[in-house]
Subunit: 218 residues, 2 copies
């Protein structure tokens, strides 16, 4: 797949950490919540965080700040860069130099396309809610026409994508393995804590099972 | 402070969430581990994740992928955009439309400057290690000359910075507060789990107290 990749997404530094397979790319996209979207504005690079969800072979982006930026990129047929990174651990080596992090990162280059067809847009909006809490959409009142029209949704193809992954223990210099310094990995993850009720909840309404199950990781 | 801000970092959407005070900006920089750095390459925006730490009134960036990108921006006197985002919670409203996330994000625009003076660079490299685990540097063998020369460190001033913060419960449409739908917030945070020993640890070397204390949040 590498040969048809945009130059900008080819992994050059630590090239052995580069991955181009769909499985790795999809897994990172599915695990991330926020994408960091790079565009050019008045000749300057600008990066904006946006809620992001994968739908088959593309990423969906939405949110108020997204609309202007992405619509402009689309109108000018300019690529944007969508980056997602998951921090998996602190890598503590025997020398400062070999300290690192374990991570999975994804970089996608593409021209955003607006999702305007009504059923596709309804599906996309549902994907965002389901990404936050699986099963949530069924508990909500349906979207009204004003809400659907008031939300801009864009898609970016995953065709031009590359991933970079570091995992495992520190890699120290050969002679440093003789030192009696502790080394290892502190695993990190995005943890969820117990749900906090909205202060204006109606009496008797309790946390639904799908929320509790998701928070617990069931 | 707003009046001397670069146009690119002014918060326009949800402007009530914009913050420009040093305290908020520093707190986000200190809580983040990874920055998403936007540059322009062959006319296209590119975003790369980089380990980032604050030192007084600027951010320090380093890492192999950083060197070429940042050195080029410096040589061409081009600004880069450094963005950091912390996800603090999933905001679950009564309608899909008002679902959101609690977050703290930071955007900094500046021309990177390379840290080359020897003592400043040694200090900067120490800051990176101490950011991973406070107190770690003292447990390591000292950096050698080759390591110091082999690591490129850059700084970006925090003068042109803005933050955006969402916190608290969902904000629903007035009439939706009458619905018996559960709403609230699922708090999220970057959690650390028990350290994993390097498989090549010398016998009798155990996890130091500073690592354990940091993981436990003491």
């Amino acid at each position: 797949m590498t040969d048809r990749l945009n130059e900008a997404i080819q992994i050059k530094r630590a090239a052995d950490r580069g991955r181009y397979d769909t499985e790795t790319i999809n897994a990172i996209a599915d695990a991330g919540l926020v994408a960091h979207v790079g565009t050019i504005r008045d000749g300057q690079p600008v990066v904006i965080p946006m809620f992001c969800v994968r739908d088959r072979d593309h990423l969906l982006l939405h949110g108020a700040p997204a609309a202007g930026v992405l619509r402009r990129a689309r109108a000018e047929e300019r690529t944007i860069c969508v980056e997602m990174t998951l921090i998996d651990g602190l890598v503590l080596a025997r020398s400062a130099f070999h300290h690192s992090m374990n991570y999975r990162s994804l970089v996608v280059i593409g021209i955003p396309d607006e999702v305007t067809e009504e059923s596709e847009k309804a599906h996309a909006l549902e994907m965002f809610v389901e990404r936050l809490i699986p099963g949530r959409q069924a508990d909500l009142r349906p979207n009204n026409q004003k809400e659907i029209q008031g939300t801009a949704v864009f898609r970016v193809s995953l065709e031009q994508a590359s991933a970079k992954v570091r995992s495992g223990p520190p890699i120290d210099d050969d002679e440093d393995y003789e030192l009696d310094i502790w080394a290892g990995v502190v695993p990190t993850r995005l943890a969820m804590d117990d749900p906090i009720d909205d202060p204006r909840l109606l009496p008797g309404v309790s946390v639904p099972a799908n929320v509790t199950a998701y928070v617990r990781g069931d």
